[in-house]
């Protein structure tokens, strides 16, 4: 291993670094920072939409030289049928043991229901959010070896935000991809055309209300065919044999 090893050390130590970075960002951006989160050696910062470009400029000045990615997120809950295997006994939550035979079907059902958001309700992630659409980007400093995930809320009816292509030319393709997949408009982008999809394609595929036709036709493979536990499988087999 070479001598330059700045990030060596436990994850706990990096939390102080992220705290310092957050304070630095807040000082530079002022009240543009409207939400933040630090978890497990990583930092999330949500900024005001109007300050999106200024955030990039400030980050650039703070030695964030590496453009990692830019993308979008649609917080609308899934609209396609999302069947759950609540019939299968022995499903336990992530803290439980893997001994499936102990759990009753009711417990299994509860395990699935606990932290799933209620249907139709928008639940946003770290840093919070007030709108359905968010744009998110990640920057990294190859000098300080620290990264930050930046988010900004978008107007749901007219999702528009400033382009980053002037600061980070690598944002060019990412913004084109986000434009075709989510329908976000990037103000000032020099060439905002579709990247992957054919020009005549209609709709925005990564929006949650865009149906995945393959799943509509045949719900396989996917969330529906989660394997049954051996005991439940044998029961199902026996029931099938009896029926036959």
């Amino acid at each position: 291993m070479s001598s330059a090893d700045p990030a060596a050390g436990a994850t706990r130590a990096t939390d102080d670094r992220h705290q310092a970075l957050l304070e630095d960002l807040t000082t530079r951006l002022g009240d543009a920072v409207i939400g933040s989160h630090i978890r497990n050696g990583d930092l999330w910062v949500r900024v005001r939409r109007a300050d999106w470009l200024r955030t990039a400029q400030e980050c650039r000045a703070m030695s964030f030289d590496y453009f990692c990615y830019l993308s979008g997120i649609d917080w609308l809950p899934h609209t396609w049928p999302n069947p759950k295997v609540i019939e299968a006994p022995g499903v336990v939550d992530s803290e439980g043991t893997d001994d499936g035979a102990d759990a009753s079907p009711q417990e299994a059902e509860a395990a699935f229901e606990t932290d799933e958001p209620a249907s139709g309700e928008i639940v946003t992630g770290y840093g919070g959010g007030d709108t359905r659409f968010q744009v998110l980007a990640r920057l990294y400093s190859t000098i300080r070896h620290i990264g930050v995930t930046l988010k900004a809320d978008l107007d749901d009816s007219a999702p528009t935000i400033q382009t980053w292509t002037g600061e980070y030319p690598g944002a060019d393709w990412c913004e084109r991809e986000t434009y075709e997949m989510y329908g976000f408009h990037f103000e000032g982008h020099p060439n905002l055309i579709k990247l992957y999809l054919p020009g005549e394609f209609e709709g925005f595929p990564l929006r949650k209300d865009f149906p995945l036709l393959a799943r509509e036709v045949k719900p396989w493979p996917g969330l529906v065919d989660v394997e049954l536990f051996p005991a439940a499988y044998e029961e199902a087999q026996a029931a099938a044999e009896e029926g036959a």
Binding site: Y66, D93, F112, P169
Partner: protein, 389 residues
């Protein structure tokens, strides 16, 4: 008249002559369409180049011929099903694709794989690096008209693929990584075979160094061609060997906190100051050799113990967001997982290396000559599945 004035006048005169020459040779621009099917594209990438004579004025890259919509498909699959899917992103180093995804999911579940599993993960990670880059090292020669290296590449890569197959069951798509550990332990007799294969790969690297590095044609075609300055490369999101060839001493295996075993091995991050096609080739060749030494060290230091942590049979990831990235053969690969506590993720953003490595080509190809398009694209080394996802 002072000497300085004379020099200035002769300089202006030579400039004027150049301008006249250019005016005389003013040609009509033409469009050259490269691809989608083209020997130098490893798949289906199309480049529309506006040419002035032999020089590229403007190059547009058209991708998406292989777009499979993985980010959408992940939303209807469970976590164990997704590893099968993301195997196909960079198909030459499939195992390396699985690792960051599993790490992100483990981060959210707060599960950590036992040390032996981490070491075996590192082992297969480096083996897939070797399997991936050996092909590049040979294939770069074929783009320049040297046929021999590519045959050597396919011959020697097979040793590594056989090793991966004998341990995981999958020659190309192992699907071997699991949340909380790995699928199986190593088979009997495998370690000795692997050491032998690593010796062969080192021999292959030496052979290629003899065949290409000293070759006059190879040097003339690659030295000083397609130069990427470090700051431009970074702002385009270039990573991996492409940015290390521009003199940036940055390797996530060393610089990012990772549960994998890289920190416990003795190895070196190779960089090259030039930033041209030759530097990118040279850095990858050194990295392959370094990876064989890393595999040897892993085999010597492999800890004993379990290979799987205790996780529930049906994987349910708690709500949260996690980002995990690793230094894949092609560059930085990362997954941003948003979970809302279900059997599958709510959203997965796949940050693949080739997408960003290729996004610099419109800038890079400006002003180069037509034959250099091929060497530059080849030296950037991308996999189409890694661009289109």
């Amino acid at each position: 008249m002072a000497v300085a004035d004379q020099q200035r006048i002769s300089y202006i005169a030579s400039q004027a002559a150049d301008i006249r020459l250019n005016v005389e040779l003013q040609t009509e621009e033409m469009t050259l369409n490269l691809g989608p099917q083209h020997p130098a594209t490893h798949g289906t990438l199309r480049i529309i180049a506006r040419l002035d004579g032999e020089q590229v004025v403007k190059a547009d890259v058209v991708c998406g011929y292989m777009h499979r919509g993985y980010e959408k498909l992940t939303e209807v699959r469970t976590y164990p099903q997704i590893t099968t899917l993301i195997n196909r992103i960079d198909w030459l180093s499939s195992f390396a694709n699985e690792v960051p995804f599993i790490l992100a999911a483990e981060d959210l579940m707060e599960v950590e794989a036992p040390p032996r599993a981490q070491w075996i993960r590192t082992l297969f990670f480096e083996l897939s690096r070797i399997a991936n880059i050996t092909l590049f090292i040979g294939e770069m020669g074929v783009q320049l008209g040297a046929i021999t290296p590519v045959f050597f590449a396919f011959r020697d890569r097979e040793y590594v693929l056989n090793l991966i197959e004998s341990a995981t069951g999958g020659r190309f798509h192992p699907n071997f990584d699991r949340i909380g550990g790995i699928k199986d332990d190593l088979p009997k007799g495998w370690i000795a075979e692997t050491k032998d294969a690593m010796r062969r790969i080192r021999g292959y690297c030496d052979e290629l160094e003899d065949l290409l590095m000293g070759n006059e044609i190879f040097e003339a075609r690659t030295r000083g061609v397609g130069v990427i300055p470090a700051d431009v490369g970074l702002s385009y999101g270039l990573s991996g060997a492409n940015i290390r060839a521009s003199g940036v001493d940055w390797d996530l295996r060393r610089d990012a906190p990772s549960p994998l075993a890289w920190k416990e091995l003795d190895w070196k991050v190779w960089t090259h100051p030039d930033g041209d096609s030759f530097a990118r080739y040279w850095v990858r060749l050194q990295e392959t050799r370094e990876a064989t030494h890393m595999v040897d060290q892993i085999l010597d230091g492999l800890p004993s113990g379990p290979i799987q942590a205790k996780v529930p049979r049906i994987i349910k990831v708690p709500a949260g967001e996690a980002w995990a990235h690793t230094e894949n053969p092609l560059g930085e690969m990362g997954y941003y997982i948003v979970s809302q506590g279900g059997l599958g993720p709510f959203r997965v953003k796949i940050r693949s290396a080739s997408f960003h490595n290729v996004s610099i080509t419109p800038w890079l190809l400006k002003g180069v000559y037509v034959p250099d398009i091929i060497t530059i694209l080849s030296s950037l080394y991308f996999i189409l599945g890694d661009i289109d996802r």
